[in-house]
Symmetry: C2
Subunit: 338 residues, 2 copies
Amino acid sequence: MAEGIKLALVGATGAVGQEMLKIMEERKLKINELVCLADPREAGSKVKFAGEDLTVRAASNDAFKWADVAMFAVGTDISKQLIPEAVANDCVAIDNSYAFRLDDNVPLVVPEVNPEDVDWHKGIIANPNCSTIIMVVAINPIHQAAGLKRVIVSTYQAVSGAGKAGLDELDQHVKAHIDGIQPVLEVFQHPIAFNLIPHIDVFVEEDYTREEMKMVWETRKIMHAPDLKIAATAVRVPVYRSHSESINLETEKPLSVTQAREILSQAPGIIVQDDPQNNHYPMPLFTSNSDEVFVGRIRRDISTDNGLAIWIAADQIRKGAATNAIQIAELIVEKNLY
Amino acid sequence: MAEGIKLALVGATGAVGQEMLKIMEERKLKINELVCLADPREAGSKVKFAGEDLTVRAASNDAFKWADVAMFAVGTDISKQLIPEAVANDCVAIDNSYAFRLDDNVPLVVPEVNPEDVDWHKGIIANPNCSTIIMVVAINPIHQAAGLKRVIVSTYQAVSGAGKAGLDELDQHVKAHIDGIQPVLEVFQHPIAFNLIPHIDVFVEEDYTREEMKMVWETRKIMHAPDLKIAATAVRVPVYRSHSESINLETEKPLSVTQAREILSQAPGIIVQDDPQNNHYPMPLFTSNSDEVFVGRIRRDISTDNGLAIWIAADQIRKGAATNAIQIAELIVEKNLY
């Protein structure tokens, strides 16, 4: 560690926090010094970073006074409680929770889509919802080229969206199924092994879930498209850690499938995997541990004029959370915005 | 067995054939006598029906001469070969395969939707694709009430769509995953445990699969809606035997969510399961071994005027195949069309 930021990582022991540590190292985020913070009950435990064991401390104002930037990989309630303290201590907060995402004073950033929004931050930058991040990386290039009018998306979301507990619960439910015993429900509302649950987060308005409405509200904010029409159906599936989405798009201007494929191939953060005759298309089992959004099944939506259909998959813990947050930190460092 | 039809069941030993035997018994199909047929290699084996062991015979013209009605639960190639022989011997064929579905001389029937089409049969009645059957039961009542203009559907299809071999392959892939060994690929193009495969049947036109195009072609024929706009994305999921679908509908006339829920509640073959605040919605693990299509998550499609979104699940082997075929046989008996 040499020149760079003094960084505090809050929630260092969780699934996203652990992944952030890996990705900071892989991407060589310019860190002068790193302090790992967590709940006081976890103070004293160790986490690995760049071959060293770091001791986890309880989050405190002293840490925020010291740090240039703090990454928050904790739940909404803890973010709401700690982030004002970080900001009051002149520490830039990058928040993975839902707490500040829709606040007009807080930029909501996907670096491939709206990197310029970090420039006007007032102390907090929000990291979007995982399904939303993955979708906007794939649809923004189409929006830039032909103007999006409408998006219909059905998701196929991995259990990692519910953190390490979600991963463990899928394991436990598979085992219960094999042993012929009742699965224990702790994280999910219903058994998830060999099942689908069309219910993620709580129901909020017009019988849409908050997960579905996040894909509406957050996409509009990130893409600066307040009038974009979006309808989502969010479904939990028995897959470990990559989310997939079936997306139907309507554009203002016509765009051929060839043009769309070309545009997506050249867009940042995307790997086009679209050779159906050779059985190549994105699949969640093979997109995990990657930072890109995989896009395939690119074809005309034959039910409308100026329509496209695509199928995408991306690692929910990485690009859907940790990688995107680290990319925001990189922008902060590059642009000297701390 | 008393008054009723002389029935031949071709493919009695397969997953769908076995289910047909169960359902004939449950629904008390009026059978005078039943003969079970299969591939010559399976002749001599036994199948259970109504507590009796029936000996399977090789399919033959003699059997078709004897039978009033023959149900075909075999692949497209065998249907193409045997059904002309059945028809030539004055035996009415109910075919579960794809062979004759789009033939203008063959009615394609879902009894809840177009029972009147059995009246004009010329010897063959086709049983539709499983994903299509399930969808039309759910969307036809909306079409009757408000006129459908456009359907966008993303499927979540169980491995039973690939027969008993598909069920066995999911088991084998789950075991391989747990044991940390490579899964053997026999039925599916890729591992299916903890994965999603956006590829069912072969790619046919504009990079759509035949499974996706069946949902277009067959839906239009069954619903007598040749201009209905439909786009489908068909995805295999690690679920055993119920298919699920996320469907977005656009109607000519406005229809409130309350009206739609009421219409669906009174429609034949549907169970509305739509109480999201109490975590009630259709899920494939709980709709298996039922004959109804379960419909829930009924809500406005907030991305368009006159739009509705629904989520459905139904047993692919039963309503998606065997039950629908037996219901067609019931119509043949009731209407004395043999």
